[in-house]
Assembly symmetry: C3
Homo-oligomer: 266 residues x 3
């Protein structure tokens, strides 16, 4: 054992691009969507992939469905691994709908979440209410990630609206604006009814907005490949399945067929 523990991969084999940032990184963040992992699976994820995971979202309203000790352990373990962990924005939308925003923040803070997501994917929310929620999160010492886009089938991106949203949200202190694609990646935002990317919309976004403010939800491998090959390996990608974290890291580094020739140093 001692022998091999001193051996190291030739760096060109571990990262043919020669450019992958280590954590904490400012480029190429990966956000994992956890929609119900058990505690052992969660430990497995972090033992294996802690270096490749920057953010974990506990999808939609799953947070209150765990035994509290499990939820608490997830939060603690994520933070020990320098990972931002936060409940899905839909859960805050539930709190808004049920007039329980105070309860929501009390519990989020007591549990030790270090972030929240502010979204209006399902409910109507005016700009003033959105501002208030972002400001409250910041005031409480949380990292605030916002989300742009509706979850309904066939939703799309209104460029002027997105530009405004990014400007205002980040000015209020949000660290990133997530571009909605749901867990499915089908028929929502920049993805059409077959999950293919609407490239004209994509490019009009990229020419107007600084890429490193945007977190692209891209649950399907074809979407990850397309976005990496279009925008480079340093884009932020989200709603990654826990099973796909290492495979995505391989894509980012040119260690998989889809990016080997385009990204590897020649």
């Amino acid at each position: 054992m001692e022998v091999t523990s001193q051996l190291k991969w030739n760096p060109i084999l571990a990262d043919p691009t020669g450019k992958r940032q280590l954590k904490p990184r400012t480029l190429g963040k990966t956000m994992v969507m956890d929609k119900g992992l058990g505690m052992l699976a969660f430990q497995d994820l972090l033992q294996t992939s802690s270096n490749h995971v920057d953010m974990i979202k506990l999808g939609f309203g799953t947070s209150p469905l765990y035994p509290q000790s499990v939820l608490q352990s997830k939060i603690n373990l994520a933070k020990e691994n320098n990972i931002l962990i936060y409940p899905g924005g839909t859960f805050l939308e539930v709190a808004v709908t049920q007039n329980a925003v105070d309860s929501f923040f009390d519990m989020i803070l007591a549990l030790g979440f270090n972030g929240i997501e502010v979204s209006d994917g399902t409910i109507q929310m005016d700009r003033r209410q959105r501002n208030k929620l972002i400001a409250r999160g910041i005031d409480e010492g949380l990292e605030v990630v916002t989300e742009y886009g509706k979850k309904g089938w066939g939703s799309s991106i209104e460029l002027a609206e997105l530009i405004d949203t990014v400007l205002i949200d980040t000015e209020l202190g949000a660290s990133l604006v997530t571009i909605e694609a749901r867990e499915s990646g089908i028929g929502v935002g920049i993805f059409d009814g077959e999950g293919k990317c609407k490239d004209e919309e994509l490019h009009s976004v990229m020419t107007s907005i600084s890429g490193n403010k945007l977190l692209w939800e891209a649950p399907l491998k074809t979407q990850q490949v397309h976005l990496i090959n279009s925008l480079g390996p340093d884009i932020h990608l989200g709603n990654i399945s826990p099973d796909e974290v290492i495979a995505l890291e391989a894509l980012r580094r040119g260690l998989r067929s889809d990016t080997l020739l385009s990204l590897g140093k020649k």
Copy 2:
């Protein structure tokens, strides 16, 4: 830790419907299809989701493919968590085909399974033989779940036949009649070749048969959403992937976009 262990979610955040039954429940049962989980994954499932799982089916003929100690541990752990655990009906069909029904029951009982499934999804079985198998299961002290429907591509529901089946099976002591949709949910029973629900068939079933006798196999999320939004969150749903148990519970409680507006208390 002590602090947060005393904190509780505001009930309106944990269940915006205000109506979800706790276990043991008579409405809204969830049946998980286990097609080969390892022992740690099985422990993970029950530690995380024991409150959300009512039944576990060890899919088709997987039972004899485990090391016996693993199988035994799964059965014990399920029963400790008040969960009905039983082998898939196809396995009993194998036993019928191979003239090994006595061996089947001997082993099921020795291992401590607390249920069986009686089906004829693949083989031909006349009403007399079905009656005998149901009666034998009941005599042995097992809970008997039956299944209606053929596994072949394009199979559909014959309403009169289903009504008869439910009547006779439950009179003989079966607790539930499962509506076949396989692991795939495509091209079988009430689901068409794209996995979409045939609503006319669905409604003719619901107007003729008491819903809480039926266990709908609905492996795909779109199917779960459609059935919950059509028939309510209290229907019994089955062939749920272990990975999707918490996500389904979120759907039942209005904690996910697809049911937030339709189910949450206003």
Copy 3:
């Protein structure tokens, strides 16, 4: 416990075909594609399915993305279970592209992998270079599996080329030639753009080449069913998801609807 540990399944229930070889087997090998399992999940796989797994491929260039202790533990555990474990061929293609073949072999041997895959699915490689890599693997005491086929969309099988490849590769010492289908099984090799098998190509291959030299990548269940029902349960199958190992074993033994009537002894 003692009681049930002495009980055994009636053999006709555990294997209705009566023909399944035990490990180490020459027919019907199963190769699992591991694209990033955690260590607990890997232990789970082997505890539950060691008897059903002959080979494990650490997909494409994932090997250097693990913490080294995790990678080392995977390799050791696989070998203790008499399983061939090797990095995906794409990783060797990366090494070729980066002029780092020596580093590649040094590290593979130091870590204790017992096999390699030689492929040209992404890069161009002439016959001489392929020969050299196969010979080097054999010289180093590794089992060499080769791969035939391009990963690009719509790739297909050139029969004469495949026949030559199998002849030369095996004469040089390769144990098996893998037929490329990627992780997706869509639009590659013998599978069309919907993942359906091109039966004419399949049959022309089978009439020209000895089946037990070929390892068919068949990630989708429909593909596994089709190949087993066309070519028999004793074909070698690869790129099986860890979650599907037991389900595939059930298919091979006639313990699932799709093969119950075609394979079970009558």
